[in-house]
């Protein structure tokens, strides 16, 4: 399912103050691709994610999935459209601590129309756990007994249980150590390759986005300042902000990093002497 965001505006009001969190955002997320959204804290990335799934109502503009808007009020019982799912940043607080991994995933599996038989549901839970690189026996364990990376993969399995067509991941790895963040990123990449699902990956880590996404949008102060194919945006950024963002990224290469720091040292000396 492709996602088209057109002229979306979202304003938060608190008392007499109001804050424009999304300012005329227009974006394309093509079907079956991973689109990255980068930008600094407060630039509106999470707000956009929440608008995409319908947790927040937008003030203006439209969000189309394959040409038509979400149908959040399909029925009184089901308030959200399960075709679009969201993964949150913090894997500890995004899973109910009182339910086992299996119960959490089964809840979603139940929503699928063919989930009549208990056997089918059970085998589907195992299948989902294995899809994210966990073991079927892990179904009996509670969230707190998993590591952060494993919990995040449970969250992915759960989101996938309702067979969504779009998966929105809001900083899915920024709470994780590098050693486990790679697990989660690989799961997302395999998911996109195997089930052809559309993924939106929000991250402040440009290397993660470059690694995984075919398209990228750069946000700044509630606006999208630049978007396009990842290669194009990263190799020849047009907007100053994008360029400064790319320059700032630290790379695990002592020589290059030292050169950057030395450059600043010279600049500082120059400023202090003059």
């Amino acid at each position: 399912m492709s996602v088209h965001v057109t002229g979306v505006t979202k304003r938060f009001r608190s008392g007499s103050r109001s804050h424009l969190a999304l300012d005329d955002v227009t974006l394309v997320m093509p079907h079956g691709e991973i689109t990255g959204i980068v930008g600094e804290s407060g630039s509106g990335k999470s707000t956009l994610a929440r608008c995409l799934v319908g947790i927040e109502q937008i003030d203006a503009g439209r969000i189309d999935y394959d040409g038509s808007p979400l149908q959040p009020f399909l029925s009184r019982r089901h308030r959200y459209d399960a075709r679009v799912q969201l993964i949150f940043q913090n894997p500890m607080s995004s899973l109910n601590p009182r339910m086992t991994a299996g119960q959490l995933i089964e809840e979603g599996v139940r929503r699928v129309p063919r989930a009549r038989s208990a056997d089918w549901r059970r085998s589907r839970v195992s299948e989902l756990l294995e899809m994210v690189g966990l073991d079927a026996t892990d179904a009996k364990r509670y969230p707190h007994s998993f590591s952060g990376g494993q919990r995040q993969r449970i969250a992915i399995a759960r989101a996938m249980s309702v067979e969504p067509e779009v998966l929105i991941c809001d900083e899915p790895v920024s709470a994780l150590d590098v050693s486990v963040q790679a697990q989660v990123l690989n799961v997302l990449r395999d998911l996109q390759r195997q089930s052809g699902i559309t993924i939106v990956l929000i991250s402040h880590d440009l290397a993660v986005v470059r690694h995984l996404c075919s398209r990228v949008a750069v946000m700044f102060g509630g606006r999208v300042v630049e978007q396009g194919p990842t290669e194009a945006v990263f190799d020849s950024p047009v907007h100053d902000y994008t360029r400064s963002l790319l320059d700032a990224v630290a790379v695990p290469d002592p020589r290059r990093e030292r050169a950057k720091l030395a450059e600043f040292g010279e600049y500082r000396e120059f400023r202090q002497s003059g």
Partner: protein, 277 residues
């Protein structure tokens, strides 16, 4: 520690359950000749003004005191939970109305209100129980409503909603179970408080009345004759204090044990977790 408290509570409940069956038949018959005999091997805690054995009266009374209290707490908890859940799921208007009703209930001094109500209902153990239930539920409802509100803002609740789960399911499976912790502590502590309240109602004459050996009633009777036998009032007093403390401690312990998050200690696998940026 937990097991000590649990054994004390278990012992109390056991006494309440089987006490009346093992008590000697003489427990309710008065023999004025034996009045106010001091604690001895025949009467461990002495006898009261009518020559009845204080220890056995206490044992028999445990059933009235403890079971009535459990009944009261269970009663107002069920009502309170129902009201809170209805308020949380029923929409703005229902929420507002129910909470204003609660506020009205909270504005009245509970014990005074219970006394009045019990008196209107004619006095006795039954009316006392009904009165305490009627005054107790708004506390539960109000507290739980706040906790439900807080829990429903956790990310995992949002996650459950986005998954498209129905409102009832989100409430019953996700919000409610993660909100009851606070209540469990309250329940345990409340049992003690209700035992006290029941005793108070008996003491001023609108609760259980003689010859029912409810502990408050025992204190009430004994208060008329403290000069002749201190043990008569001392025994039920200690029993009440002990029971109240035991239940309060139980509440604290339960809270720590029932929550899987609190159960994880130093060695918890919170590794790999970094503060959000």
């Amino acid at each position: 520690m937990f097991w000590v408290i649990l054994s004390v509570i278990a012992a109390l409940l056991l006494v309440a359950l089987v006490g009346p069956m093992i008590a000697p038949a003489s427990v309710n018959t008065s023999s004025i000749l034996d009045a106010f005999s001091a604690p001895s091997s025949a009467h461990w805690l002495g006898t009261d003004a009518q020559g009845r054995d204080v220890f056995w009266r206490l044992v028999v009374g445990a059933r009235y005191s403890i079971f009535s209290a459990v009944l009261v707490v269970a009663g107002y908890s069920v009502i309170g939970v129902l009201v809170a859940v209805a308020a949380a799921t029923g929409g703005r208007v229902v929420d507002q109305v129910l909470m204003r009703v609660c506020d009205a209930g909270l504005a009245l001094p509970p014990l005074v209100f219970a006394m009045g109500l019990a008196a209107v209902l004619g006095g006795g153990l039954g009316p006392a129980i009904v009165a305490l239930i009627a005054t107790g539920w708004p506390f539960t409802a109000r507290l739980l409503r706040e906790v439900l509100r807080e829990t429903s803002q956790s990310p995992f609740i949002e996650g459950a909603r986005v998954l498209g789960l129905s409102k009832t399911r989100v409430m019953m499976r996700h919000i409610l179970p993660n909100s009851l912790d606070v209540l469990i502590v309250k329940w345990a502590a409340d049992i003690g408080f209700v035992i006290l309240s029941l005793s108070a109602l008996s003491f001023i004459g609108v609760g259980a009345q003689p010859p029912i050996p409810e502990w408050g009633a025992l204190v009430n009777e004994a208060a008329r004759s403290t000069a002749q036998g201190w043990w008569v009032i001392f025994a039920p007093g200690i029993a009440i204090a002990l029971t109240v403390t035991a239940f309060a401690l139980l509440g604290d312990q339960l809270q720590a044990r029932l929550n899987p998050l609190l159960r994880t200690s130093v060695t918890a696998p919170t590794v790999n977790e970094r503060p959000a940026s």
